[in-house]
Amino acid sequence: MDESTLVRHAMNGDAAAWEPLVLAHQEAVFRLSYLLLGDPDDAEDIAQETFLRAWNYLKRFDPARPLRPWLLSIASNLASNRRRSAGRYLAALTRAFRNEPITSVNVEQKSAQHMEASDLWKAVQTLSLPDQQIIYLRYFLELSVTETAQSLGVAEGTVKSRLSRALNRLRGIIQQDFPVLAEGHEGRKV
């Protein structure tokens, strides 16, 4: 049974049809939430809330469209709201004050590839939230321009122009603050 058929069943209240859809998209939703929040527990909360909200608002969804961008847009909005909450703001300030990385993973134990990815993530985290969202969707989750536009609710042309500006800013940050990443591990210069 294809996705649009499952969505139609779910729109008619068939929760059994919703379960395989959650299974199919839970990883992408969780990962985007994790990228935006940097905390697995928060990411799990947001991912659950995403699928519950999507279920409640499913009548508004066009089943002819792919589900993933819509789910990611809900997750992105929920994660943004969570970031703006006072508690997370203070937590972020505390982390910044201690100059600790946003995750508790021991960087020294990571392979070079993982270190590069971790450095890139840290560089992206210094950007504005809209820049982060578009970069995570396009390059971390590897959505197409069309899917990214659907997730953000903007035109494809807008995605391209926003990406161009976000990439310029990211490149500047990498060159200034992440010289190792700019030089590149394993010969991959950014």
């Binding site: 969780f30 659950q48 519950l52 993982h114 590069e116």
Partner: protein, 268 residues
């Protein structure tokens, strides 16, 4: 940045981002489905209580019917999660009972009682595609006999592990089950077969298999409860990759083995 530089930069970003370490994705689907049905645990408790009462009655009745000599079980054979108990041959007087539960192990018995009403009360009916999404093992279906086709009914039941039950209905008598195949993952309920009329060892794809001929009571149990059902069909039991298969059919053993050896993933 020129267009070419941007394109190169984008490719490098994708390449580096592939190395991102994410925490393991939690079971969001399970939690979401539970939250969509907040009253489910309460229903489960009450259903479990009802089962327990029924099981107590059934076991009590069974004990009253079984002569003392039959309690002397000599040995049992274990294959997968299934244990087959053998005992001194004595007349079988198993209980005849209806199960009020919606979770009744379906059997392909040549009983005169139509089985379809039981199927209508069986929980967890799914399409084959959705069933495959719900279980973490590959659902296999027989490609023999060639005209068998996909199962007519598919059920996924939580038996401390998602057990899949595939049902083929007799085309000449749709009120009867022609064949059923249970795919039981590890950790599921134990299945005890009590004193089948005949047991024979055979192989399925060179692996040990057991052919049991009814009638005999079969007991499904876990740590909390168990219940008994009379089987008078034939059952082929074998394991493959930690999954225990039970094929219930009226075919001969040789034909049942051919069916078992013809299993293929559902999309082939």
């Amino acid at each position: 940045m020129t267009e070419l530089q941007q394109e190169l930069f984008e490719k490098q970003l994708v390449s580096i981002a592939k190395g991102m370490e994410y925490p393991r994705t939690p079971n969001i689907a399970g939690t979401v489905m539970k939250r969509l049905h907040p009253s489910a645990p309460l229903r489960f408790v009450s259903r479990r209580f009802a089962w327990s009462l029924t099981v107590i009655l059934i076991l009590f009745t069974s004990l009253m019917l079984i002569p003392p000599a039959r309690a002397a079980i000599l040995e049992f054979i274990q294959i997968g999660i299934v244990r087959i108990f053998r005992a001194e041959p004595t007349p079988v007087a198993p209980p005849q009972q209806e199960f009020p539960s919606t979770m009744i192990p379906v059997t392909a018995t040549p009983s005169s009682a139509p089985l379809i009403p039981i199927l209508e009360r069986l929980a967890g009916e799914r399409s084959l595609e959705i069933a495959q999404h719900l279980v973490d093992y590959t659902i296999l279906i027989p490609s023999y006999p060639p005209d068998l086709g996909p199962p007519d009914r598919v059920f996924v039941q939580d038996a401390d592990g998602n057990m899949t039950i595939l049902i083929w209905v007799d085309p000449e008598d749709p009120s009867q089950v022609l064949m059923s195949l249970h795919l039981i993952p590890p950790g599921s309920w134990a299945v005890d077969k009590m004193e089948p009329a005949r047991i024979q060892e055979t192989t399925v794809n060179s692996r040990r298999a057991i052919w049991a001929v009814g009638p005999y009571p079969v007991r499904f149990s876990n740590g909390n409860m168990d219940f008994v059902r009379l089987i008078d069909g034939h059952v082929l039991i074998w394991t493959d990759d930690e999954i225990t298969f039970r094929l219930e059919t009226e075919l001969t053993m040789e034909e049942a083995v051919r069916v078992a050896e013809s299993l293929e993933p559902i999309n082939q």
